[in-house]
Amino acid sequence: MTNSIEEIAGSEVIFVIGSNTTEAHPQIARRIIRAVDKGATLIVADPRDTAMAEIADIHLKLNPGTDIPLLNAMMRVILREGLIDDAFIEMRTENFNALRDTLFAQDFDALVELTGISPELIKRAARLYASAQKATICYCLGITQHVCGTANVESIANLAMITGHVEQDYTGVNPLRGQNNVQGACDMGALPGVFPGYQAVSDEKVREKFARAWKTDLPEAPGLTVMDMTHQGVRNGIKAMFIMGENPVLSDPDSSAVEKNLSSLDFLAVADIFLTETAQLADVVFPAASFAEKTGTITNSERRVQLMQRAIEPLGECRADTEIIAALSNLMGYPMNYQEPAEIMEEIALLTPIYGGIYHDRLERSWGIQWPCPNREHPGTPYLHKYSFARGRGRFVPASHIPPKELPDGDYPFMLITGRTYHHYHTGGMTRASEILSREEKEAFVEINPQDAERIRVRNGQLVRLRSRRGEITVRARATKRVPEGILYTTFHFAESPVNRLTNPARDPVAKCPEYKVCAVAVEPADG
């Protein structure tokens, strides 16, 4: 997030796009609701009637995968009506002319038609967003999990920059991270091309710095992305894998391919707190400690690094992930002798400029520090890009419509969106072990519009078979007007109905994020 979570409650206009905030990010949703109750305007772009859409002033019910046309249409309105922030564009950005040319080259009516939204609604939303003093955008996986995910995000950045809604409090572009520490994992270099703190592997100076600290040679080329390993690892020359806290057999698209690939490795080790579907394929399983059994930091959506203290002694033979890594490393001939997590944090601070002033002793008895925090005296940074963007000037990257890789056709007439539900977390490893949570949502379901259900002769609650070009699963139908006709919605929490057997492994060319949000399926009664 460019800005802080608490700031959302003080925004005048909140534009939520591609986020079922109430169910997936309740802590963000509560700030949005607080803002709405104070009188803020809420604009929600989502194909479904989410709870957020219900309290929205404007619901832009777009066709799945038409985010770029929607954002471009809004920007055209803003340009045409002179609602742009000229001073901001002039002083802080570059490449504006390219954006303007691209926008004016596109036909407004054609853009609107692609989205399926009324032009009046788009105009209203654009005017409200552009003319507010403090307007913020929250987006989530509905934006990124598309073949055009990167272009979607760039279009959101374009919208924020032409209206100058960055660099101040209560504004900004705020991607909502899905896990308590996914931001921290990225910050620590769990990405193929960067060391901790987004320092490029390709940069010789950076490599030298890390090589000196770690007393080892480091590769010059970026590593493989997740799907290059989980889907094509064997083909890419991988012989062994060590998977920690991840369950790709359920969570990756086209999961049958994952299972096949992992099974053909020479060796697979998995560390997790429960014996997940992936762990069941492993040669060796390490029991990992849960969050309550270990000390360390997590970094949340708003870049806030927080210290979590061990609350209970580790049960049984489980150990913290860091201990497992260190023990393995020691056995493999590279000594790692950290006394305690604070020592690892000191190494992070030493090598990672954005974490330069973050130490355990500073985090104790506090609500954490938001990076960038370059030194011990620095209080942290509530919002980014004040006075200048990280790269200098903000660059406009114009985009045109990129349709989803797989659209409905005669054989597979429905569009399937996948997402999450309130009571479960990811592949259910933890939440399905809780009796109350699993009682709330017992089994996989697919939301289907009542008109569609009637047409294919399916009753509410009946089992249906979902088929795509990659596989099939059986789930219970839930007839609801929350989804428009022609669109189905389901979640990936349930191993009995592994929805990722259906999803399309087509990926965004830059971020390599798969298109979980759109694939074409057929649906029919399971007993017919």
Partner: protein, 411 residues
């Protein structure tokens, strides 16, 4: 006559140390992050007992744990069950009046009719030492629910902070015996102490900053029900997370399930449940009589503020204010009462304006068209109907008074 004594603040810790011998001592403790929670005292010298703040959670869990094993089962050789029968002697110290009132409500739920053995075995061995609240906190409204800030009964001992000393009153014979067991800590009460305490109690009652009109809400619900728009407003904001029920000191619903530890051994577990959960009333076949969320909220709020009021002549909300500010959607009992009452105020004003309008038309003083215009103006500006009519010169003040007098005489 139950005892009244004084204990100096310096002597409180020595008294607690005596009490903690042979009993679990539970008290409000301030932790490293500044939060005050009721906690078991392991070391009276190393835990900071804090009587200056309302603890964040009630003491519910010490009598009705969030999760407990009702019994363990073993089916390896026949069927064998084992169940915990004895409760440990426990002293709940420093409880706020709301939390004690909540325990009295739990007593009714778990001990009236068939007794809940798991609750009873703990409750019977629990001594309650409360402390009145000299100054209510921001979200408190126990005055409206008649469960504080000081209590008349329900405690073994109740303390009142008099500055350098506590006024101690006993609420039952067991309280007296606590004083008798350790007479060395207690001093006689002077007239000055009595007067000071009396003043503090009065001041405390006038110190509430939040007005939650629980009684008016009850009357409004009884007379006209709750407007459907209120339920809709709340339902769109409720996630059904159950947080309000978990934090509520009087929410006593639970569910039971078996948790196997091996093929033929395991535990039967009871955990807190919440009526805002979908699965709370879902049947095996998937049918749910209390659906959607709107209906679940309806049941929750009406139970606390209406059904229990009818049955016990008081709400089962104790006004502790803990659900205020904890809900992600802002759906709390304070908001509900406010919505019901503001709806009621608006409704009553509308009713009286309509009655006046009807009387004036019947008396032939104003014609229908004129009155409708004036009513519309009232709705728009909020100016009273009578004032509008007088200003327009349609009626005089004298005529208004006459019409109203006639109405009073008739009724």
């Amino acid at each position: 006559m139950l005892k009244k004594k004084i204990i100096k603040k310096d002597h409180l810790k020595p008294f607690l140390r005596k009490l903690s011998k042979g009993s679990d001592l539970i008290a409000p403790v301030r932790n490293g992050l500044g939060d005050v929670l009721y906690e078991k005292i392991h070391s009276i010298d190393h835990q900071e007992i804090d009587l200056s703040t309302q603890p964040q959670e009630s003491a519910k869990a010490f009598l009705f744990p969030q999760s407990e094993a009702l019994y363990t089962y073993d089916c390896s050789q026949g069927y064998r069950f084992s169940q915990e029968k004895d409760g440990r002697p426990t002293v709940l110290f420093g409880l706020r009046s709301c939390d004690i009132s909540a325990i009295l409500y739990m007593d009714v739920i778990f001990m009236r009719g068939p007794k809940d053995l798991h609750y009873v075995r703990r409750r019977e061995k629990t001594i309650i030492i409360g402390i009145g609240c000299n100054k209510p906190w921001e979200n408190c409204f126990c005055n409206a629910t008649k469960s504080g800030p000081f209590l008349e009964f329900g405690f073994d001992l109740q303390l009142t902070d008099l500055g350098d000393r506590y006024f101690v009153e006993s609420g039952r014979a067991r309280g007296d015996s606590l004083i008798d067991n350790w007479p060395q800590f207690f001093l006689p009460v002077t007239e000055e102490d009595e007067r000071l305490r009396y003043q503090l109690v009065l001041e405390a009652r006038s110190g509430f900053t939040r007005q939650v009109h629980v009684d008016s809400a009850f009357n409004r619900i009884k007379d006209v029900g709750v407007d459907a728009s209120i339920w809709e407003h709340l339902a769109t904001r409720c996630d059904g997370c159950g947080g309000c029920a978990y934090i509520c000191p009087t929410c006593t619903c639970f569910t039971i399930f078996d948790r196997p530890t091996s093929r033929d051994k395991g535990q039967r577990i009871r955990t807190w449940d919440s009526c805002t959960h979908l699965g709370f009333t879902e049947m095996a076949g998937g049918a749910n009589p209390v659906n959607p969320q709107r209906d679940r909220l309806k049941r929750r709020f009406l139970h606390k503020l209406y059904y229990d009021y009818l049955e016990f002549k008081r709400p089962s909300c104790v006004g502790c204010g803990r659900c205020l500010g904890i809900c992600f959607g802002g759906v709390d009992i304070g908001l509900f009462v406010e919505l019901v009452c503001s709806n009621s105020k608006k409704g009553r004003e509308e009713d009286s304006a309509n009655i006046l309008a009807k009387l004036l038309v019947e008396a032939g003083l104003v014609d229908q068209e004129e009155i409708e215009e004036a009513l519309a103006q009232r709705a728009k500006t909020g100016t009273p109907l009578g004032k509008i009519l007088v200003e327009k010169g349609l009626v005089t003040k004298g005529q208004l008074a006459e019409v109203l007098m006639e109405k009073v005489e008739k009724s």
